[in-house]
Symmetry: C2
Subunit: 409 residues, 2 copies
Amino acid sequence: MPELFNVCSPDDARALLCNRITPLARAVTCPLEEALERVTAVALCSPVDLPAFPRSTMDGYALRATDSYGASEGLPAYLRLIGEVPMGQQAGLRVGRGELAKVHTGGMIPDGADAVVMVENTQLVDETTLEVVRPVAIGENVIPIAEDIHRDAPVLPQGHVLRPQDLGALAGVGIVRIEVVARPLVAIMATGDEVVEAGSAPAPGQVRDINTYTISSLVRHSGAEPHSYGIVPDQFERLCACARRALDENDALIISAGSSVSTRDMTAAAIEGLGAPGILVHGVSMHPGKPTILAMAGEKPVFGLPGNPVSTMIAFQLFVAPALARLLGTVSPVHRMVRAHLTHNVASIPGREDYVQARLEQRGREIWAEPVFGKSNLIYTMVRADGVIRVPLDRAGLYAGDVVDVDLF
Amino acid sequence: MPELFNVCSPDDARALLCNRITPLARAVTCPLEEALERVTAVALCSPVDLPAFPRSTMDGYALRATDSYGASEGLPAYLRLIGEVPMGQQAGLRVGRGELAKVHTGGMIPDGADAVVMVENTQLVDETTLEVVRPVAIGENVIPIAEDIHRDAPVLPQGHVLRPQDLGALAGVGIVRIEVVARPLVAIMATGDEVVEAGSAPAPGQVRDINTYTISSLVRHSGAEPHSYGIVPDQFERLCACARRALDENDALIISAGSSVSTRDMTAAAIEGLGAPGILVHGVSMHPGKPTILAMAGEKPVFGLPGNPVSTMIAFQLFVAPALARLLGTVSPVHRMVRAHLTHNVASIPGREDYVQARLEQRGREIWAEPVFGKSNLIYTMVRADGVIRVPLDRAGLYAGDVVDVDLF
């Protein structure tokens, strides 16, 4: 019963799959307040100048900067106060030579003025006369028209994951509805004659379904929409029928493939039956997660993830998350990583990437990563961990004190 | 018009506020599949042993380890195959001395057996005789009962933010409904006579509302539920009435407070009117974000955030996010930080914390942070940035090449 895996490295495996995936062409229009973490379907340009008028950045007085030149505490400039610019309205007055107008932070700079002197640097002499005790430069304390963004300038590229500031910036230029990429629909099938619903009472020899929950959550974190197809028994015809239906109704299919060689073989055969090009990768030089299957059925990626819950999660991050990002037309988030110092030596086997669960600990300004010991296939080692450390293919281990990247889970 | 701020450091300001906040006592029961990123309302213990029976981690044969001692390629142990353990069922047989039973990965170890020899280290001689060519130790390739988690052992503490692996781990022990802390309801009021709805066409002197969108998004990211109360004009009675209603209907109130001193004073007076203990902090030694107001009205935190959109976001991360975490009974996420090398010198003023927008760039294995130049109060500087760098109170700046922490936005 040899395992005839065509094993390749994790990076090669990911590239083999992702290079075949084209972004979904489906877009939906969505109001800005529901667009957080959605992905832009088109590049966006600003329809307006922001701001549309020159604004004061201070409470103070708008004036011609030249009128303040040379002003000091000992020798103030005396200028004539001609009025106040009301907030939210046209300035409605014109500042001439030797004049100034009161203006609030965010208010419009009146015609004729080219700078604002802060209220702290002035002194009211009488109702219409003001001392200015410090000079200001042209443009000082003023946001000119379009300094934030120009009309027709690019706001956001296509394939951008929308953050809070992006929504604010779109609101600022009046874009309140936006085309976003539809969430990829992802079918999840759990398999295994020993697996029962988490809510049921397992008989001797049975275990509760863990992977549907972890995979669904990871799918959500990837910006996609999980659809569970329940637990399918290890019968080839039922597996094939369910996989076919799940694939038809979704953009991608994940089969939590059971752990024994026979169920993995059955999963592989079922995946191969879904259509060309079929299986691209069967076996990856990593631990845990070696028996991962990566395939394409037409335009749709199909995954056979190993049944052990830790392998499932690690294989998801390495292969499914980037594939879903690609369906969304975006790139994987690169910043879910923390650099930390390793507390203990970690042994590994050269020729495979090892993934070791670790707990993070802040020690002063430094972050330390402590490996979580225990069998790597127990779900509770992941619960006790904050993430996993990758031990590269060509290393026989890592040393205490080494700086490592911890992928957060 | 002096600014009579009682300015304190960001750390002191946060402590002053957060020390007064007690976690919400409200919990809701929620099915596991909707519990991602919710916060546990109670500590959870496992109702069962996981696994409930000893399981094989390999495809192979269950046996008594002592029967394999001394076995080698040259001198195999010959053992009698008595049957196969079906997946998902009681083993249903007993392995005696000199016997073994076929077992699949995840299958139950039959009575009498104490180890599993991998299929790769065996050779079938005839239907009932097997050669074992390598010895196994007692417990080898076996997950004993409760190795993942013991009955009554703590699963998750109270105040834990639920991750994918936590949901899987709860499913594994049959917990499919869970008590989570209710999402804090957070009222958001925008103020300012110059501010109009983002969807409307601003007249000269008017600007579109940005802060309602950024604040709502940040509230969502904090695990709370935003409720917008729209844009309130700068009229004291209306401001007070709206603030009172918003606070009554929610667990916290955020007023985007306008930027001019007069509107800030009005906001402060309205907040003070909401009840004791009232304003705790008015002015923080930071830039941008100095005119931040932190208050408590009874048990409810109230925030007056400065009107400039960048100040709003930075003050939110520094003060509102930890306060909402406290309402949820959890701690702020500490790992939304990336350590990077600075590309350019950054000037600052000692005595205040400066926050500088920065873009991250991966250069080989290193991450570099490039300051985004431009006025710090423009929303598009945040769009062009990945996060902000903090320049500590006592520093006059940072040097190119310095290692800095970038808070991701």
